[in-house]
């Protein structure tokens, strides 16, 4: 029984690693872009490797380091990254059956390895009727972490030979990446009002000079979410 369970776990783990490979390609490009940004922030390979391992949340890593490069300071960088990661509360909460009855080390490992991509992949496989669970989520996450570390370290090493990333348009990779992520987060026209609100608050905050970019970003995001919460729809 125990042996059979272990075999199932291993099969699920490697099945997820195979299934997630197209998403890993996107993560690799994203990681390369983060490595280039990290180089602009004068981060060492050690710092990039440690950050990828213990933070392991790509968008928040990019936002935080981008804030540092912009000279916003450590506090603004941390807040921007943390606020962006608040969504992970909902992500891990939404698959609580996956964690039910597991020992703490498995809960901690699974929670840490949960990403937007591995979570979404698991949900889509379940929607197809596949019986996948904890080790599928862990396998996908572990594969993405390996990809993320290789790509970000390659990016920071490769960046040393690039004098001016901006001249190559690489700096715009982050903006384009977030546009693609926004597209994938679009669920229907009820998103329109919150998103327009977020944009308008940022535009007013920036152009009026009341807030710097870090706070415009946070206030804009919260304003959009608040509008969605207050609206009596659905």
């Amino acid at each position: 029984m125990t042996t059979a369970k272990k075999t199932d776990a291993r099969q699920e783990f490697w099945k997820a690693a195979r299934d997630i490979s197209p998403l890993a390609l996107g993560v690799a490009m994203y990681g390369l872009a983060f490595g280039l940004l990290a180089a602009q922030a004068s981060m060492s390979e050690l710092q990039v490797g440690v950050m990828g391992t213990i933070v392991f949340a790509g968008a928040s890593q990019i936002v935080a380091v981008e804030r540092l490069v912009a000279g916003a300071g450590a506090a603004a960088a941390i807040i921007a990254g943390v606020v962006l990661n608040f969504r992970m509360l909902l992500v891990t909460a939404s698959v609580r059956d996956v964690f039910a009855g597991r020992p703490f080390w498995q809960i901690a490992l699974g929670a840490h390895l949960t990403t937007d991509e591995s979570w979404a992949l698991m949900l889509s496989k379940r929607a197809e009727g596949r019986d996948v669970g904890y080790w599928y989520l862990v396998g996908g996450g572990a594969c993405l972490m390996a990809t993320w570390l290789v790509a970000t370290l390659s990016g920071v090493l490769f960046a040393a030979s690039i004098p001016e990333p901006r001249a190559l348009g690489i700096d715009f990779a982050f903006t384009a990446a977030f546009i693609a992520i926004a597209r994938s987060l679009w669920t229907g026209k009820h998103d329109l009002v919150p998103w327009v609100t977020a944009f308008l608050v940022v535009a007013i905050a920036k152009w009026s000079g009341v807030l710097d970019s870090s706070w415009a970003l946070i206030i804009g995001g919260i304003a959009g979410a608040a509008v969605a919460g207050v609206r009596d729809v659905e």
Binding site: A33, V63, T92, E234
Partner: protein, 97 residues
């Protein structure tokens, strides 16, 4: 670079706490109501705010390249293709416009 290590450690601690809290709070989370709707909308709104900050910090070239990336994102729904198109567009605009 003390700032970098501080960001790495505090962001890691906060992010892990958020992920772990989600597991434990899952059962108590409201499945509907204002609070759930707001939290559901937070990721999208934040991403839009971030893109807005980036684009508004640039000029017309960034706005056009952002438009190109939007079109590619809507048509292809692909992260690599959108990134590639955005980078190519901004590179061409900066070279020739």
């Amino acid at each position: 670079m003390n700032d970098v290590w501080m960001v790495v450690l505090l962001l890691a601690g906060a992010t892990f706490s958020i992920r772990l809290s989600g597991v434990y709070l899952g059962q108590k989370l409201p499945q509907d109501g204002s609070w759930a709707r707001a939290l559901n909308a937070l990721p999208g709104s934040l991403i839009i705010a971030l893109v807005s900050v980036s684009l508004l910090s640039g000029g017309p070239r960034e706005w056009i390249a952002g438009g190109v990336a939007c079109v590619v994102a809507v048509i292809t729904k692909s992260l690599p293709l959108t990134m590639g198109a955005g980078i190519l567009a901004i590179w061409l605009l900066r070279q020739f416009v």
